[in-house]
Symmetry: C2
Subunit: 193 residues, 2 copies
């Protein structure tokens, strides 16, 4: 798979990098630093697109042969956005709130290519079975909840043993709806040798 | 996470091995070789449990402190089981049949532990968008469809860019409903240091 333009991922997330690599994309990673606050009146589902766009717009775009790709993921439970937990107690509280419950994961994506800018998002419903205090403590103490929205990784211990059902895209929960990214990059993809 | 007994995985699948490892299980791999034919009158959904049980029963179980774990995965589309494709043409035909269609992935699991034998299965619905002939050719020629039921891996290029939606467990599609395996092994799991 060859891409005629140079893709630049403006996100520092190691999961997004892994997804793009495993799907066969070649790209460069140049994270942009942006203010991640947002208007509290904005509907929760719209926040990731706004932040993804902000990340892309912060990149000094000069070469029209570059494709700039940004994304942002939020976890929404009971109508409220869960950010990354700031300390152990917040991580434990978040996981308690996800336990025996269904939440939504929304990833917003922004792509600047060919002098145009598009944004879109994908939503996955995720259900956790009831998590025991021992499972939550073990996860929080042995894994890395602090760099993840909602305090968990779908590909981590707690996601593997705790999620019994999802509806939508798995990779969207991991951080990037790769099937949609692929779709939007198709005009630049060639399959010849 | 510590398991009080010794787990033996009687499956050669590298995906099952990877899932168990990433979930934090320690285990040994000793594949058993069994006849994988089945009674054509058996409902397709029941076939994986029968084959998983056959794999476990083929293991020379002697030590009651061992836990023997076997699994089998089938892809069912339009009421018919898709096995592993035997040649390029069959792999292409399978993917054409999955394109723009919903199929079911059923993984049957058998666990022998503490002198008892249990079997269960999990079903995930998977939807592929319309796949182009170029995408199918590229996948079949550059990846490994021949060791996979239905001719695709959910974690491969074609699964990542082609599947826009699933309902159920992602890891079940990859080869093992790890949340269910964990649930059944819980009596043997300790979280202490």
């Amino acid at each position: 798979m060859k891409i005629s333009e140079k893709i630049i991922l403006v996100s520092a997330s190691p999961r997004r990098r892994q997804i793009l690599e495993e799907a066969g994309f070649r790209f460069e990673v140049i994270p942009t630093a942006v203010d991640e606050s947002f208007d509290p009146d904005l509907p929760a589902e719209k926040v990731p697109e706004v932040l993804a766009r902000r990340k892309v717009e912060a990149f000094p775009y000069e070469d029209p042969r570059q494709i700039i790709l940004g994304a942002d993921t939020v976890v929404i439970v009971n109508g409220r956005i869960l950010n990354k937990p700031e300390d152990r107690q917040e991580a434990v509280e978040m996981l308690k709130g996800l336990s025996d419950n269904t939440h939504r994961v929304v990833t917003g994506v922004c792509i600047r290519a060919n002098n145009s800018l598009i944004t879109f998002s994908d939503t996955t419903l995720v259900h956790f079975k009831a998590l025991s205090p021992q499972e939550i403590d073990y996860y929080v103490d042995h894994f890395s909840p602090y760099d993840k929205a909602g305090g968990y990784g779908v590909q981590d211990f707690i996601g593997m043993v705790g999620i019994d059902r999802l509806e939508g895209s798995f990779y969207n929960v991991m951080g990037l709806p790769v099937h949609q990214v692929y779709h939007h990059l198709k005009p630049y993809i060639r399959f010849g040798e």
